[in-house]
Amino acid sequence: MIPFTYARATDVADAVRRGGAEAARYLGGGTNLVDLMRETIERPDILVDVTGLSHAITERDDGGLLIGAATSNTALAEHRAVRTRYPALSRAIVAGASAQIRNMATVGGNLLQRTRCAYFYDEAGAHCNKRHPGDGCDAMDGFNRMHAILGASPSCVSVHPSDMCVALAMLDAQVHLEAPASTRRLPLTELHRLPGDRPDVETHLAPGELITAIELPAASLAVRSTYRKVRDRASYAFALVSVAAALEVEEGRVKEVRIALGGVAHKPWRAWTAEAALLGQPATEASFAAAAQAELAAARPLKDNGFKIELARRTMVAVLGELAGEAV
């Protein structure tokens, strides 16, 4: 690990003042960043520890929830209001990592975790445009069973590893951001970038900008939401494919629907096409299959991951079927 200085932020103003320095990084639970620093893939000069900032989960007047970015993944998953009003979010969090990691990891850090592409991690032995722009991508023709089927580019085929973000994308979460001279919000769906020709730039955050909170809008729809993760082993593995969804059926037809996919793209993938295809349609397996097909029309398989297209289609149909069963 390359030497660095460490400072514990006392408040948001202190954090963004320190975090504006070149080669500074915000430190949450460290479950991803410390590992990447040990591999010398991340090389910050300054770590600004933001785990002492807000970890409050507060009710908003409009019925939504405001979640401090330093909230641990465990604290969010077990919170009563999240379990009862946004069950997909609780389910997504407990489907990820291990209990020890969820205890350490913060919400802000979960959003900014980096891909687990093995070629990205292999500093000594592999080419990676995300590590070194212009270096090439060994995953493109390598072992790419875990890689992207949607939104990839010739530069990068890696996937975003978060489960929590898939649920947040489905729930229309807003990300609260702070910088020395600005305060703004961004929809979670607009936080992460597709790789394009700059896979090293993963978000639309300005340099030094700090995630201070996540806001969940009030949504009665979210009460009937769930998350299903398909992986190689029953626990403690990254997703091959995952689906977060919420569905409201009225008189047998889809009144409202939200769907997001994980394990398929460089960002949590909101299935806007499938949602549009389903509105007003009969809440039947045939409609769900047609909507999934429409979403996945843009999918492009690599050498080893063609199975993900069919897996994503079936998982979407199964999850929507489960929610429709509840809604009837």
Binding site: M1, P3, F4, T5, Y6, R8, L27, G29, G30, T31, V34, D35, R38, L47, D49, T51, T74, A77, E78, R83, T84, P87, S90, R91, V94, A95, A97, S98, A99, Q100, I101, N103, M104, A234, S235, Y236
Partner: protein, 168 residues
């Protein structure tokens, strides 16, 4: 800058690169906590911080200023083992023993999580106030602790002795 380890105050390292695991093993001589993968994949380094289980290999020691750490040495001794340590012996919850301190610290944290209602991936009703213990719950909740000897059945049996409701 101090940290409490098993009730004893210790100085934090001046180099922020030192992990909590290396502080415990190399500077405080507490070699009960094991270094397995050193990258957050195996759970051998699990310790309790203020009662919560964490991975000490991914924890920078400086981040834990003022916190209270419990390691396997703080749970029991050879003369006076913790009931869970005795249960691991009684149920063959290990073979080589390398993962065992992490397994035991992890189980201690896990039991508290279930008692306060933290749901898991296999909890069928995540809105329930009280989450029932079961062997499936124990297995899922202990998935962050690998045992390459394959003693998982004995590990679950040992943990179940502290949880009569999960015994069946």
């Amino acid at each position: 800058m101090t940290i409490s380890v098993n009730g004893v105050e210790a100085m934090l390292p001046s180099d922020p690169r030192v992990s909590l695991l290396d502080l415990l093993r190399e500077q405080l001589g507490l070699s009960g906590t094991k270094k397995g993968c050193d990258q957050g994949a195996c759970g051998a380094c699990t310790v309790l911080v203020d009662g919560e289980r964490i991975l000490s290999c991914l924890a920078l020691a400086v981040q834990y200023d003022g916190r209270s750490v419990t390691t396997i040495e703080g749970l029991g001794t050879a003369e006076c083992p913790h009931p869970l340590q005795s249960a691991f012996i009684a149920h063959d919850g290990f073979q080589c023993g390398y993962c065992t301190p992490g397994q035991i610290c992890s189980a201690m944290g896990m039991i508290e999580e279930v008692r306060r209602g933290t749901p898991s991936h296999v909890t069928s009703d995540i809105t329930a106030e009280v989450i029932p213990f079961s062997r499936d719950e124990v297995r899922e909740r202990m998935s962050g602790n690998l045992c390459r000897c394959g003693a998982h059945n004995g590990i679950v049996d040992a943990i179940a002795t502290l949880l009569p409701e999960a015994a069946e």
